[in-house]
């Protein structure tokens, strides 16, 4: 393994070097060939083995069961008069949280010039889009009369009834749709140069036509690059507050209510941290296998994995702090209802959900204090899976363990999901994975253009300034041996 801390024995600069972002000194052509090759070559059998069941699950769980839901009533889910929001909103918050890493990687890391983002940002953004699509299904379909859902849109109507702008749910509608729109544009815009590369490599035909349309006449000229980079920068600046706002707004659904256990000011930062936490875990969950399947080890390196593991450790600790702070405040606050809500979470009938959440989200990521764990893909995968599960349980704990036991014990109830709940959720996982596999199949999964920027050779006017790149000039010229990735 490249360690990044070794000083060269004979180098001009005796400094700590960063890990290489592209290993093995791969050339520009190699990068283009490797990434475009994924699209141009036949898909490995494994792609089909993964895609077909996922597509089938999506068809059954999403198309099938949501049709059943609309034709029959929300009662096919487990929601009841005590727990009006059950699994659907748990799943909504879960997916929308996952949809956070993508834009964070693309926008915030772009603005902060974190070059390591370039090999993972495209896939992370795609993941964001698909996760938000899965997320959007739930609030849309969980309403009792989806055919009237257009009431949520501020369309002038004969009834002269406007929306209720006091409602966090309406804020949610705007927040999520804005986030989805901006993320989609950002994702697409970033892909234009790469789509043009694919177009240029295609034989004439339908494929070329479609990629041609999608690449918006990109020729790679100076003016185009100039405009492109400015547009990308502006979109990054626009997306950055959205990363923070979307999940803050989602948390307002809970925080602005009067429900004990929801009505807390800690929710917005805690939700945002949780979303980044869960989002990065999902990026790892997807990228580690994709890297192996498509042989992208030189582009998605252990450095990337290591960085993401560190973010998981950081955000996981923030989340853990929030959990403990909630407990402390409920104890310290002398509010009976609040104290009871948290007591019920920890020791009530859903204690197992709380314990799972605590273990998966707080205990499991602590492994990432240890470098060995961050460097061991098996450990990283296991921890990432724990986080995925833990973040679902977090939302389950917030929603399902709170609502059945609120203010008046005389009306306390219970909740259990139905098979439709379970299979709709599994269906969205299928849909998410199927869409991601289609993305791998048809779109450049690594940002070809930007990865190249991180290479020394991209700096055509290099004046000897040592940028955040991976190897020295001497190494580049071959005067000095490049340490190989272990």
């Amino acid at each position: 393994m490249a360690t990044g801390t070794t000083a060269t024995s004979s180098g001009e600069r005796n400094v700590l070097r960063r890990d290489a972002l592209v290993l093995n000194n791969r050339s520009f052509a190699w990068i283009t060939n490797r990434v475009c090759g994924i699209i141009e070559n036949r898909q490995p059998l494994l792609w089909w083995i993964l895609f077909l069941p996922c597509a089938a699950l999506a068809a059954f769980g999403v198309a099938g069961l949501l049709s059943y839901l609309v034709s029959t009533g929300v009662g096919v889910w487990g929601n009841n008069n005590r727990v009006m929001w059950g699994w659907p909103i748990v799943n909504f918050v879960f997916w929308i949280g996952i949809g956070h890493a993508g834009t964070l990687i693309s926008a915030i890391l772009f603005l902060t010039r974190q070059n390591w983002r370039t090999s993972v940002n495209r896939a992370a953004e795609a993941m964001t889009i698909f996760a938000v699509m899965c997320a959007g299904l739930f609030p849309a379909f969980h309403v009792g009369r989806i055919w009237m859902a257009w009431f949520l849109a501020p369309i002038p109507n004969a009834n002269a009834i406007w929306q209720n702008f006091k409602s966090p749910l309406l804020w949610d509608v705007f927040a999520v749709s804005t986030y989805f729109t901006v993320s989609l544009i950002f994702w697409f815009l970033g892909m234009v140069p790469d789509l043009a590369s694919i177009r240029d490599r295609c034989k004439p035909g339908l494929r070329k036509l479609l990629y041609g349309i999608a690449s918006l006449g990109w020729r790679g000229g100076n003016r185009q690059w100039r405009h492109y980079e400015m547009a990308y920068l502006l979109l990054a600046a626009l997306s950055t507050p959205l990363v923070l706002s979307v999940h803050s707004v989602v948390s307002f659904d809970f925080a602005t209510s009067v429900v004990p256990g929801w009505h807390t000011t800690i929710f917005p930062p805690y939700f945002v941290a949780g979303a980044i936490f869960g989002g990065f875990a999902m990026v790892l969950t997807l990228m580690i296998p994709a890297r192996a399947i498509y042989g992208l080890h030189d582009l998605i390196t252990m450095k990337h994995v290591d960085n993401m593991a560190k973010i998981i450790l950081l955000t996981g600790s923030i989340v853990g702090y929030a959990y403990l702070m909630e407990l402390f405040i409920s104890y310290y606050g002398a509010n009976k209802y609040e104290a009871a809500a948290f007591e019920k979470r920890v020791t009530g009938p859903f204690w197992w959900a709380y314990a799972s959440m605590m273990f998966c989200n707080v205990v499991a990521p602590q492994a990432f204090w240890f470098k060995w764990c961050r460097q061991n893909l098996m450990v990283v995968m296991v921890v990432a899976m724990f986080v995925n599960i833990g973040m679902w349980f977090e939302r389950f704990v917030i929603i399902v363990t709170t609502l059945p036991r609120m203010w008046l014990p005389g009306d306390w109830g219970d909740f259990s999901p139905t098979w439709v709940d379970i299979w709709t959720f599994i269906g969205t996982i299928g849909m998410f994975l199927a869409l991601f596999l289609l993305f791998l199949r048809f779109l450049p999964c690594i940002n070809i253009a930007e990865v190249k920027w991180t290479k020394e050779g991209a700096h055509v006017h290099d004046d000897g300034h040592q940028s955040d790149n991976e190897i020295t000039e001497r190494q580049y010229r071959g005067d000095e041996a490049v340490p190989t990735a272990g």
């Binding site: 009533g73 009662g75 009841n80 929001w85 209720n164 309406l170 007591e343 203010w407 005389g410 009306d411």
Partner: protein, 1009 residues
């Protein structure tokens, strides 16, 4: 909204109970859709749950509608032929089995029948009756004499296992008068509050209202009565009772002594009532105690009804055994083939399945249910008309005469009991006259038709003629004006029974007390089983009524089932660990397996089982509900069985319970104090209990005002509000069913209740004052404290509180729930898309969501709702006729909740505008609008009206009372519904003598801060 002038006297289906008097509401088309009481009637006291629900039976598509011969449909003509044959053989060998009734017309017709056909015998049968009370009264005071307790005058009341506020109604307006005696508006009232001691082994609503409740197994009540009798100076009557009362409570002697002293010092304003389920000996002791306390003439009226008790089913069984019954005509609604005690073997007896007894050759059953055991064993079944379809009459407990007028023609062409008796009575001369009349009318009609004129009006029904004749007899002469008044008012004023002399026939009483045997107190090896009338379906006659089935049983909160209710200690001893665990009860040689439910406060080693369930093929709603305990009963002691062996079993039965939790969890939700506390400081406890009562004021971020600062609430309009007096509320469910009837609330079926999707807009939260350290689980409450043995029980009706700063309103994204200028939190169903956020944010959990199309798809067919568009519909049967035309029928996907009966408020406003069209901003008069739950409440616990400071309304006065408090004030939602704290009136001498009572009475929330 219907015209309340279109009235009918409403009769309960079950005849053993008080005949209530109510006005039915016809809608614009004149069909009855909702029942209200007749406020003019002297014993008008709300409309109880069964009476409310009887309107659903009127439109029940499964109601009997065909004449059946051996279970097969036949034509009316065939039945008429059979009737003619029966008539020819009337006389010796013909027996009637009628329900307990006070209809003068029925009595007259039976008498006429017996006169015309000598040898016709009449027996009376009710599964749950006051026969032992009647027997004791007649033995003591003479045939035809009845006791009518007067709770209005009673200041000190002892209930010996008598649920006079619940299923054991004794006559008069007991709930109303009892609650009026507890109404406390000022410190002065608190001094004159009545005091109730309740001795019972089961939990009753009456026990819940009691100031002092002593757990006494039903079988030990006789000895307890003896102890009391000795202490009040009626020991002579008690001398024949063997054994002495014993209890494991160390302060029991003090309890009895202080209670007796309290009764004696009441100067004749004391009253002891015994449960109809108790033996005649207990009732004799009650009479003796009352006599010693000077209750007769004061708190008990003795009336001369002139109709002595009829022979019982026991006598009928003897006659059948003797082979002397050839024709048996069953008109009782009590379904004897199902409900008669097991050792009578009624069904086997009439079918000739008992050795040496021949079959009763001809059994005719008249009833509204053909889906009952008696109809099935009968040769002939006659569909009975609903009481709202037929003429009839009834006398209240005090004798006040009421006429029952039909509000609608028989939907399915049924006959009433009077119609049947008339047909059987009719002699040849009458028949000829009738035929001649009909012929003449036909001729006249033909003549009129020829002349192009409308046909002459239909002649009055013969039944009406008979009712009129009865009226004339009671009114003392035929007077059209009086008759019309009676039809208008629903009753004949001043038609009470004459008073009877309170002279006890000592010989008869001594005879009745002879040969009593001592019943040992129940032990774990030999438990006691108490069979109780069900709070919902009574003796089972309402088994197919979905409203009643789905209403939660007021104490155990079970829907769609019954269960074996046991105490916590008993459950521990038996090894019953969760609600619904099956137990096997073996008693009187019969075994029943049924689920057990733990209830804190039931006497130990006692199993309480409600009757009426476990009927076979009794309709969509009833089939498959509960467990039939009738085979365990015996004729000698139909309501108490001793020596039962009870074992816990492994398996668990799924019960649909709506409120399994017991404790208030340290939250002062139902606030309670004592009369003494109130006297000292009227506002003290209601304003200091719980964290809700001492929080800083709430500052809302959203001000209830418009864009230009104009307030949302219009001070020139009536501002609606409600108070619920927890001192009066017994938890009887009348409001719940009235609301269901008024507001088109669907039922959802057992499966959906188990999923917590019940739809009731008003629910009754029941708490036990236990200090539970456990928490709610599906398996039940973890029990780790001994104070759950004998706690207080408190009840609280909760509906939408119509908050002024409603948390539900701010969160609705589409403005589907908003505030009206008169202070209502209104729901726009058409605007609702069903995000359900409002319901999450409702602190009271008062909102109900239509998870399925309950109004369209039948929830009573298993799995039907899950079939969606393929499910079977039920919006095309007669039940839709019951719907209130002024209330939207909600579709799936929308939220609903209590509206304060907004349709009534709108009607009142429109009327006010019509009446005062020239006035500026006319508003309904204060207290002129009454909402459905308010009217239905038998104990007048609900007040509704204008809450503006200067309105002078009744509700305003109550809101200014020191007992007034807001539920969950902590939330700061400013609810328009508020509660009046509960007051207990403990006996100070008893408190001084008993630490247990001191810690318990009035202390449910006393220690909560």
């Amino acid at each position: 909204m219907g015209d309340p002038r279109q009235t009918a006297a409403l009769r309960h289906g079950d005849a053993a109970r008080l005949r209530q008097h109510a006005a039915g509401r016809g809608d614009a088309r004149g069909r009855p859709t909702h029942l209200q009481n007749n406020p003019l009637h002297p014993s008008s006291s709300g409309v109880d749950q069964q009476a409310q629900a009887s309107i659903l039976d009127l439109y029940d598509p499964e109601r009997s509608r065909d004449f059946l011969k051996d279970g097969k449909k036949v034509s009316r003509a065939e039945f008429d032929a059979a009737l003619a044959e029966l008539k020819a053989g009337l006389g010796e060998g013909t027996a009637f089995l009628v329900g307990a009734g006070t209809s003068p017309t029925q009595a007259r017709l039976i008498k006429r029948l017996q006169e015309r056909h000598a040898g016709v015998q009449v027996f009376e049968y009710e599964a749950i009756s006051d026969a032992s009370l009647v027997a004791a009264t007649e033995a003591a005071f003479g045939a035809g004499v009845r006791q009518v307790p007067n709770f209005a005058k009673a200041k000190r009341i002892v209930s010996l296992d008598c649920d006079f506020l619940g299923t054991d109604q004794l006559g008069g307006a007991s709930a109303r008068d009892f609650s009026r005696g507890r109404r406390v508006d000022s410190a002065e009232d608190a001094k004159s509050m009545n005091r109730l001691y309740s001795l019972e082994g089961r939990w009753t609503l009456t026990g819940g209202m009691a100031d002092h409740r002593l757990r006494v197994p039903a079988s030990q009540i006789l000895k307890a009565a003896k102890k009391l009798a000795q202490l009040v100076g009626a020991g002579e009557a008690a001398s024949a009772v063997p054994g002495e009362f014993a209890s494991d409570r160390p302060d029991v002697d003090a309890f009895f002594e202080k209670m007796a002293e309290d009764l004696k010092s009441a100067n004749g304003a004391a009253l002891v009532v015994a449960g109809p389920g108790q033996s005649p000996a207990v009732h004799q002791l009650a009479i003796a105690i009352n006599q010693a306390l000077g209750a007769f003439g004061s708190t008990i009226d003795l009336v001369e009804t002139g109709s002595p008790a009829l022979p019982s089913i026991w006598e009928l069984a003897k006659a059948i055994r003797a082979g002397s019954v050839k024709n048996l005509i069953i008109t009782t609604a009590a379904d004897p083939a199902y409900s008669a005690p097991g050792d009578l073997g009624f069904a086997e007896l009439v079918k000739g399945e008992v050795d040496g007894v021949s079959k009763v050759p001809n059994i005719i059953h008249l009833g509204t249910r053909h889906l009952c055991a008696t109809a099935r064993l009968a040769n002939w079944h006659i569909p009975a008309a609903h009481y709202l379809e037929s003429w009839g009459d009834v006398r209240a407990a005090d004798g006040t005469y009421s006429v029952i007028q039909p509000m609608i023609l028989p939907l399915y062409g049924g006959l009433s009991e009077i119609d049947l008796l008339l047909a059987l009575c009719e002699n040849d001369a009458e028949k000829e006259a009738r035929l001649a009349d009909a012929k003449k009318r036909e001729e006249t009609a033909a003549m009129m038709a020829e002349a192009g004129e409308p046909a002459p009006p239909e002649p009055p029904l013969p039944a009406m003629g008979e009712v009129r004749a009865s009226f004339d007899e009671i009114a003392g002469g035929s007077d059209d004006a009086k008759w019309n008044n009676c039809l208008r008012d629903g009753f004949l004023a001043g038609s009470g029974y004459p008073k009877a002399q309170a002279t006890v026939n000592a010989a008869n009483v001594a005879d009745m007390m002879k040969g009593l045997k001592e019943t040992a107190a129940p032990t774990q090896a030999a438990m006691e089983v108490q069979f109780a009338a069900d709070y919902k379906i009574f003796d089972g006659r309402w088994v197919n009524n979905g409203w009643l089935q789905e209403a939660p049983e007021p104490i155990a909160k079970i829907t769609w089932d019954n269960a074996a209710l046991i105490s916590i200690k008993t459950a521990k001893n038996l090894g019953v660990e969760k609600e619904g665990q099956m137990v096997r009860v073996t008693v009187n040689g019969q075994t029943l397996e049924l689920p057990a439910v733990r209830i804190p406060g039931i006497a130990d080693n006692v199993v309480v089982i409600a009757l009426g369930y476990g009927q076979k093929e009794c309709g969509k709603a009833g089939t498959g509900t509960g467990f039939d305990a009738n085979p365990l009963r015996s004729l000698d002691s139909p309501f108490i069985a001793t020596g039962a062996v009870v074992e816990a079993m492994g398996e668990t039965y799924e019960l649909a319970m709506t409120g399994e939790h017991w404790a208030m969890e340290g939250r002062a939700i139902v606030r309670e104090g004592t009369a003494e506390m109130f006297e000292k400081n009227e506002a003290f406890f209601a304003q200091t209990q719980g964290m809700d009562s001492h929080i800083p004021p709430n500052i809302p971020i959203y001000k209830p005002e418009g864009r230009n600062g104009e307030p949302h609430l219009d001070p020139s309009m009536t501002q609606w509000g409600m108070t619920i007096d927890l001192n009066s509320c017994t938890g009887c469910n009348a409001c719940l069913t009235a609301c269901q009837s008024e507001n088109n609330i669907p039922i959802v079926g057992k499966e959906q209740v188990m999923n917590f999707r019940d739809m009731h807009w008003i629910r009754l939260d029941r708490y036990f004052a236990v200090d539970l350290d456990g928490h709610f689980e599906k398996e039940g409450n973890k029990v780790n404290d001994d104070n759950v043995d004998d706690p207080e029980m408190v009840v609280q009706p909760v509906a939408c509180q119509q908050c002024e700063l409603a948390p539900c309103e701010t969160v609705c994204p589409v403005n589907a729930t908003v505030h009206s200028p008169d202070g209502l939190n209104v729901m726009a169903y058409n605007r609702c898309i069903g995000t359900r956020y409002c319901a999450n944010n409702c602190p009271y959990k008062a909102r109900r969501f239509n998870f399925f199309d309950y109004n369209k798809r039948d929830p009573l067919i298993e799995g039907n709702l899950m079939k969606g568009p393929l499910g079977e519909r039920h919006d095309n049967d007669a039940r839709v006729l019951q719907r209130n035309p002024n209330v939207t029928v909600r579709m799936r996907g929308v939220m609903e909740k209590c509206t304060y009966c907004v349709q009534r408020l709108q009607t009142a406003k429109i009327k006010a505008k019509q009446d005062g069209r020239d006035a500026n901003n006319p508003q309904p008069k204060p207290d002129s609008v009454k909402v459905a739950c308010q009217i239905a409440c038998p104990s007048e616990a609900i007040e509704f009206g204008d809450v503006r400071k200067n309105s002078g309304s009744a509700v305003r006065k109550l809101k200014d009372s020191g007992r007034n408090y807001q539920l969950l004030k902590y939330v700061g939602a400013e609810p328009r519904t508020s509660y009046l704290a509960r007051l207990k009136n403990p006996n100070p001498a008893l408190l001084a003598a008993s630490e247990f009572e001191r810690k318990k009475v009035g202390q449910a929330t006393a220690s909560m801060h």
